[in-house]
Symmetry: none
Subunit: 151 residues, 2 copies
Amino acid sequence: MKEQPWWYRRLRDSGSRLTEPRKLVLEILRNSDEHPTATEIYVQAHRMKPSIGLTTVYRTLELLIQLGIVQKFEFGEGKSRFELVDKPGANGRHHHLVCLKCRKIIDYSDISEEEKEFLSRVKGRLKSKHDFKIFDHLMWFYGVCRECREV
Amino acid sequence: MKEQPWWYRRLRDSGSRLTEPRKLVLEILRNSDEHPTATEIYVQAHRMKPSIGLTTVYRTLELLIQLGIVQKFEFGEGKSRFELVDKPGANGRHHHLVCLKCRKIIDYSDISEEEKEFLSRVKGRLKSKHDFKIFDHLMWFYGVCRECREV
DNA sequence: TTAAAAATGAAAATCATTTTCAATATGGAT
DNA sequence: ATCCATATTGAAAATGATTTTCATTTTTAA
């Protein structure tokens, strides 16, 4: 007997049906390390089951958010990103370097061990001080790149 | 002789012109306690100078974000909200805690010694790796607050 | 004062997300 | 397994925020 993911029960308990598209969206979320957008999820889902529609992906995500199975993030890109709640070890990768002169933006994702440790300490502190459970973070650094300093 | 806001200099230094629409948008941001949306800023600006266009408000905000003068927020409403960044170096609200459920935002400025050290190490690393000289930073943490976890 | 470059505004285009509505799939009852 | 009420779905249209295009205006430096 195969063990069912905890969200199957939560879906059922809410009176919602456990449909193919819903299982697919959940499977895709389970298997992605990034925080996919609705469209990214749709593209994957569509490859596996071409009959699926983007609308359904949106509706499913909305439902899963209501049920506390999925979290919605916004990083200022003008679109939302989604992640399974309590998915361990999918944090970081959202560091931006902005040059104040030429306005170039560099995304960098290489996080050092030190940085990870620091972040987990900060998260611990935020938990105890503000009683927040942190799922993710975003860091912006503003400066001037070499080319612009040379002028 | 009137003292000019620090952002005037930063605009100038970036090679951008200090135009009427830009001053207006900055003035509106300076005088608002809330985080206005682009449209809200436009409505105010338009009252003071009817020739102004929504496009210019968007373009100005984009520029100010690139220059680190303005921050963009997204609360999951499908539109962005904007706020003036505090003067760099001075007890700025550089840290934000966002509750992913109720969309509440907590600004906190109490930075520990450990945190300051960490940031200076990160800045050093960014300097050597990406050859950026960092002037300022911004950190966002996404999580769920106590009230929302209790449900 | 003048010309080049930067900035502007209006309208059109784009993009993410939501709504509408007719067709389909699901799960409990039979 | 079959049936049926209804939850769910997909396609297309609608919406709303943001971006692009392009001709005109404003700003700055010489």
